[in-house]
Amino acid sequence: MPIIVDLDVMLARRKMSVGDFALRVGLSPANVAVLKNGRAKAIRFTTLERICDVLDCQPGDILRWESASE
């Protein structure tokens, strides 16, 4: 997966639990797990907006591109 979701890093930096994060963003724990496991295929801008709001970060802090050939 060339686009990596670095949710774990950001959650650790903000010292936020996954359950708390899911509750504050308004995502189901299952969807948070999908994001963390890198199985997510698409994300709404509104979801990204809430994540950035809750974690007080920029989209670039949680989304990272990696070359597929690695």
């Binding site: 995502l27 969807n31 999908v34 997510a40 295929k41 698409a42 994300i43 709404r44």
Partner: protein, 153 residues
């Protein structure tokens, strides 16, 4: 939805009455024209089968209606019901056309009315089947779009 279900029940009841009438009309026809009395039983069966196709299609519509109400219409199961409706329409048209063709070609009776009726059955049935195939395609596209959207977080 309740009105649609009521209409479907009405169609079903009407078609059952029609199925009961078919052999009576055929027997009456056989008494009036003894030269076609050997056709009474097979043509009654054909008529009842053609109406049974309609009933099967109504049952499929009933099932699809249930799927719409429970929000499961955009699943692959719905495609099978649409296919079944198309098959029912095609089969009913085929029975009508085959009966007409048999009457004209084998028995050598019946005039232009029978030929026209057979052609009408083929055209109407073919148009119906094509329409259902288009509808099935639409549903298939909607199902895949829905599945793709469901993956968006």
């Amino acid at each position: 939805m309740a009105w649609l279900r009521f209409l479907l029940i009405l169609v079903l009841v009407g078609s059952v009455l029609g199925q009961l009438l078919i052999p009576l009309i055929a027997a009456d026809e056989g008494r009036r024209a003894p030269e076609v009395s050997h056709l009474v039983v097979p043509y009654s069966v054909a008529g009842i089968l053609a109406v049974a196709c309609l009933q099967a299609a109504v049952a499929c519509i009933w099932a699809l209606l249930g799927m719409v109400e429970s929000g499961r219409i955009y699943t692959r199961r719905a495609l099978r019901w649409v296919e079944a409706i198309a098959w029912c329409g095609g089969l009913a048209a085929a029975i009508c056309a085959a009966t007409g063709a048999h009457l004209v070609a084998w028995e050598g009776i019946g005039g232009p009315g029978v030929v026209l009726g057979g052609v009408a059955a083929v055209v109407a049935g073919g148009a119906f089947v094509l329409l259902m195939i288009v509808m099935r395609g639409l549903l298939a596209v909607a199902i895949s779009d829905r599945a793709e959207l469901a993956e968006v977080i």
